[in-house]
């Protein structure tokens, strides 16, 4: 029988919230382990989302709004420290009907009530901000603090910082049982081993209800909400300056047109409640709806080339945001959010640490802990790319020509902490394969480099977190 390891905190789930909590706890002397069922971090909702770091999402005086408020001003600094792409582009919420225009006032008041900058604009003023919005625009709200972020790089960076500071990250380990022991301990049993811990942080996203039940926690009613997305080519992305939102209705936040940090444009998400968290299929009817909605907001999207469609499930449920000590198990802390996980992540991590301390965790901040990661220069965005080959001659070896990713960057994806485990993992960390040709030119090279990096051959190299190239 294997000796169970002792930890102070086990975090279940390495999505953006679990990874953020791990990064924050890694700055203390607590002994922390992260368990993730998938073979990479940032799968599921943290992989498939709009990549918006919102400044305003909902009603004032909620914990979620407080966390967004606390997180939003810090993105530039945090992203510089963690080497994550971020741009504060600002957003325009536009009204296309008199009915929508009527709702703008109350929405603006709500945003102001949240302490967020929000300005009502006439149609002419809105066009000055973003000339590509629909000529049917009657009025708009400008939200200058909205930003776009690379949610994959953010999650990987949180996880890297955590690992750099000594957190154990266990990938491909699904929690199957959590057993209370005598004293203050629980044993967390995975499909591949067991470990002992004092506290459990439930950051399992769509799996949060199952983890709470295993831990003897409060009942959580939740279900996967599938969102589908369309990615438009960067030749259109070069023209779009702002995030464009439809006017919120009481039921939905509607659809978005989002310039990504990669230069492409993301449309979506849709919202479809169902019961199969592994169903990430797209369908042509929904894709047509996304394209039609985008054309209403930004007509020029009609001429843009869709380069990719995808879907992901976010955790919907009886509570869209749950961050608290469990009502039944005082050593279980929940941290899930249906749609704002990225946007609350820095402050949510801080609050989770506070709650753990309140629950009895003795964790002192460690002055020697790292709070930043070494930046990897990127060929595509480097100010002076000609200087890069002196750092590493492999910068001259372009692997992904569309996104201009070099062999040097791909090599780093395997050498850094939390290395890529699949071709998809390389894409998450470097952007290779994201572009307009979707890997037609580069995936052979990337599969070769992934085979080298993960010590396997062409058939058994992982294309995604779950599947290999060969059968």
């Amino acid at each position: 029988v294997q000796q169970a390891r002792d930890f102070d905190v086990v975090i279940v789930g390495a999505g953006v919230l679990g990874a953020a909590v791990a990064a924050r706890l890694s700055g203390t002397d607590a002994r922390v382990c992260v368990l993730e069922a998938e073979t990479d971090v940032a799968e599921h909702a943290s992989k498939g989302n709009a990549g918006v770091a919102v400044s305003y999402y909902g009603a004032p005086d909620t914990q979620q709004t407080r966390l967004i408020n606390a997180s939003s001003p810090g993105w530039e600094l945090l992203c510089r420290r963690l080497d994550v792409p971020f741009r504060r582009l600002g957003g325009l919420m536009i009204a296309l009907t008199p009915d929508e225009a009527d709702r703008l006032g109350p929405t603006r008041d709500e945003a102001l009530g949240c302490g967020v900058r929000a300005e009502l604009l006439s149609a002419a003023e809105a066009f000055a901000v973003e000339p590509l919005i629909s000529p049917d625009c009657l009025a708009a709200i400008h939200l200058p603090q909205e930003g776009v972020i690379d949610p994959l790089r953010l999650t990987v960076a949180y996880a890297r910082l955590a690992v750099r500071n000594g957190v154990r990250l266990r990938l491909g380990k699904r929690v199957v049982a959590i057993e209370p022991e005598s004293g203050q301990q629980s044993t967390v049993i995975t499909d591949r081993g067991r470990l002992r811990t004092r506290f459990v942080v439930n950051a399992a996203g769509v799996g949060a209800a199952r983890i709470s039940a295993l831990a003897g926690g409060e009942p959580i009613t939740s279900w996967p909400r599938k969102g589908q997305y369309v990615v438009l080519d960067r030749s259109f992305g070069e023209r779009l300056r702002s995030i464009v939102f439809s006017t919120h209705t009481p039921d939905t936040k509607g659809s978005n047109v989002v310039p990504t940090t990669h230069g492409s444009v993301l449309l979506g998400p849709t919202a479809h409640d169902h019961d199969d968290a592994d169903d990430r299929a797209t369908d042509p009817a929904t894709i047509d709806v996304i394209l039609a909605n985008a054309r209403k907001l930004v007509p020029a999207t009609a001429s843009a080339q869709p380069i990719k469609t995808f879907a992901a499930n976010r955790p919907a449920g009886d509570e869209a945001h749950r961050l608290r000590i469990d009502a039944r198990n005082p050593r279980l802390v929940h941290v899930t959010d249906r749609s704002a996980g990225v946007s609350i992540s820095p402050a949510a991590a801080e609050l989770v640490l506070e709650l753990l301390r309140k629950a009895g965790l003795d964790a002192a901040d460690r002055p020697d802990a790292a709070d930043s990661l070494p930046a990897v220069p990127r060929l595509r965005t480097a100010e002076d790319p000609t200087a890069l080959t002196t750092l590493d001659p492999l910068y001259g070896q372009v692997v992904c020509a569309c996104e201009q990713v070099s062999a040097a960057e791909i090599q780093r994806a395997f050498d850094e902490p939390v290395p890529a485990t699949s071709m998809d993992g390389v894409r998450k960390r470097t952007g290779a394969g994201y572009g307009r040709c979707q890997g037609s030119l580069c995936l052979a090279g990337i599969s070769f480099l992934t085979g080298m990096g993960t010590h396997t051959g062409p058939g058994s190299v992982r294309q995604t977190a779950r599947g290999t190239v060969g059968s």
Binding site: T282, I287, K308, G396, R436, Q438, L443, G470
Partner: protein, 264 residues
């Protein structure tokens, strides 16, 4: 010193274009891989003759250099150990062709492992390893037949699925007049569901290989789509033979020279 004309892509089109331009002006030809020839490969006498013709007219070849960014008057290129801006007044782009993507083909459904562009599958099968036993090849682009042969050579079976009708003798089986394609499989692909006039067919398979109609590769920042006096897209979608593509490249060059008053 006159800034040269820059041609990107040393396949048949780019070689033809560069040779024609070089009769009037200094030309530099930038090629991503370390040999000339592109799709056609570097070994054939035909390609070698095109290369000799270009070089004998003074075309300077920069092999193993990827073109990255175009700004008026200069192009950023990257090669092993060296990234540099090179001067050029005009960019002619002949970056080759690629198969249509899943989005361009209209694939929906799951996004599992085992769905790959034809060009990638061809590279992977080059090793001779048996990767798949039953593949669905979607589309009838120029890669499809070659790909089927490579799958068959490793002991696999290739089913061809197309929106159109037509003879594809290289396939082990054909599905015609497809109206939609749905990938099935959560972790790895296990089937392709094809919507046809006679109903939905579910083809069991362990790979879906995308071999749609050829699309021009265009990936230089600053010259993604716009065709103007400074940027000309030479790559033609027509031209199945090396000679034909070289001729189309020459024609694109002479047309440009005529329109820009460079004829004698």
């Amino acid at each position: 010193v006159t800034a040269p004309y820059l041609v990107v892509g040393a396949g048949a089109s780019g070689l033809g274009c560069a040779a024609a331009l070089a009769q009037r002006h200094p030309v530099e030809l930038v090629e991503r891989i370390p040999v000339a020839g592109g799709e056609a490969g570097w070994r054939t006498a035909e390609i070698q003759a095109l290369r000799v013709a270009a070089e004998s007219r003074g075309v300077r070849l920069r092999l193993g250099c990827a073109a990255l960014r175009w700004q008026p008057g200069r192009l950023l290129i990257a090669g092993p150990g060296r990234i540099e801006w090179i001067a050029g007044s005009t960019l002619f782009f002949a970056g080759g062709l690629r198969p249509g993507t899943a989005a361009e083909l209209g694939l929906s459904g799951d996004r599992p492992a085992g769905v790959l562009p034809a060009t990638v599958a061809l590279h992977l099968l080059d090793s001779g390893a048996r990767l798949w036993s039953r593949v669905a090849i979607v589309g009838n682009g120029p890669w499809a037949g070659q790909l089927a042969a490579a799958v068959q050579a490793t002991g696999g079976r290739a089913v061809s699925v197309c929106r159109s009708r037509g003879s594809r003798p290289w396939a082990d089986a054909c599905v015609d007049q497809a109206r939609g394609f749905e990938v099935v499989g959560r972790d790895r692909v296990r089937a392709l569901r094809v919507d046809t006039p006679t109903g939905v067919q579910e083809l069991g398979c362990d790979a879906v290989l995308l071999a749609g109609s050829p699309q021009p590769v265009r990936n230089v920042t600053g010259a993604l789509d716009q065709d103007d006096d400074a940027v000309t897209f030479v790559q033609s979608l027509d031209g199945r033979s090396v000679a034909e593509r070289a001729r189309l490249g020459r024609e694109a060059a002479t047309t440009w020279l005529r329109q820009n008053g460079e004829t004698r």
